[in-house]
C-alpha cells in the first residue's frame, strides 16, 4: 500500500483524458462547424444591422441615397455585400436546421441531409448574387 487513496488517483485519470478526446471528436463533426457558422454569421449580421437601418433611413434624400448605392458597386463593397447576404442565408439555413432538430426531432441521417441542404442553399444564394449585374 502506498498510502495514497486509490480512488483519487483513478478519478484524476478519468477526468483528464476523455475531455480532450471528446473535444477533437466534437470539432471534427459537421454539426460543430454548423454551430460555428451559425454563431459567426449571427455576430456579423448583428453588427451590420444598425448600419443597414441607418443607410435605409437616408432614403429621404434620394440623390444622396443614389450616391450611396453607387458607392456599393465598388468591387470591395460589392464583395462585402455579397458576404453579408451569404451570411444571412447561412444564418437562416442554420436556424431552420436547429428548429427542425429541436421541434421536429430530425436526427442521424436527416440531420446530415439538412446540413447538405443548408450548404446547397447558401451556395445557391451566393451564386445568384454574384451573377447579378
Amino acid at each position: 500500500m502506498s498510502g495514497r487513496a486509490p480512488g483519487r488517483q483513478a478519478a484524476t485519470i478519468v477526468q483528464a483524458a476523455p475531455v480532450r478526446r471528446n473535444d477533437v471528436r466534437a470539432r471534427s463533426h459537421p454539426a460543430y462547424w454548423a454551430f460555428v457558422v451559425h454563431r459567426v454569421s449571427g455576430l456579423v449580421l448583428t453588427l451590420f444591422l444598425p448600419l443597414h437601418f441607418w443607410a435605409l433611413s437616408q432614403a429621404l434624400d434620394p440623390p444622396a441615397f443614389d450616391r450611396f448605392l453607387a458607392w456599393t458597386h465598388a468591387p470591395a463593397v460589392r464583395l462585402t455585400e455579397i458576404a453579408i447576404v451569404v451570411a444571412l442565408a447561412a444564418h437562416l439555413a442554420g436556424g431552420v436546421r436547429l428548429l427542425l432538430v429541436e421541434f421536429v426531432g430530425w436526427r442521424g441521417d436527416l440531420q446530415k441531409s439538412a446540413l447538405a441542404l443548408c450548404t446547397a442553399f447558401v451556395v445557391l444564394v451566393g451564386v445568384l448574387l454574384a451573377l447579378n449585374p
Binding site: L43, P50, L56, S57, A59, P62, D66, L92, V96, N132
Partner: protein
C-alpha cells in the same frame, strides 16, 4: 420572476422570433436577388414599398422580430465566449434591442412616408 423562468422566456422568445424570421428572411433574400438584378435605386426601393400596404407591415414585423432575436443571440455569445454577464450586460442588451427597434421602424417609416 425566478432566473429559471426568465431563462425559459428568453429561450421561447428566441425560438418564436426565429420562426418568424425564417419566413421574413426567405422573402427578404428573394427580394434582394430580384431587386439587385433589376438595378437598385432609391426610386425603385421607395416605389416597391409604396406598391402595397403589405410591404410596410411585413418589414414592421421583420424589425420587431429581429429586435427580439439579435440581442438574445448576442447575450448567449457574450456569456459563452467572453464570460460577460450580469445586470449591466442585460441593461446594455435591452438598450441595444430598443435601438434596433427604433432604428428599424424609423427606416421603414422613412421608406414608406
Amino acid at each position: 420572476m425566478t432566473p429559471a423562468a426568465a431563462a425559459t422566456w428568453r429561450w421561447l422568445a428566441q425560438r418564436v422570433s426565429a420562426a418568424v424570421l425564417a419566413i421574413c428572411v426567405l422573402v427578404h433574400l428573394a427580394t434582394i436577388v430580384y431587386a439587385t438584378g433589376q438595378g437598385l435605386t432609391a426610386a425603385a426601393i421607395v416605389a416597391r414599398l409604396h406598391a402595397s400596404l403589405a410591404w410596410p407591415l411585413f418589414y414592421g414585423v421583420f424589425v420587431v422580430a429581429v429586435a427580439v432575436h439579435a440581442p438574445l443571440g448576442l447575450r448567449v455569445v457574450l456569456d459563452e465566449w467572453s464570460g460577460l454577464r450580469g445586470r449591466a450586460v442585460d441593461v446594455a442588451l435591452a438598450l441595444f434591442a430598443l435601438t434596433l427597434l427604433a432604428g428599424g421602424l424609423h427606416a421603414v417609416r422613412t421608406l414608406t412616408a
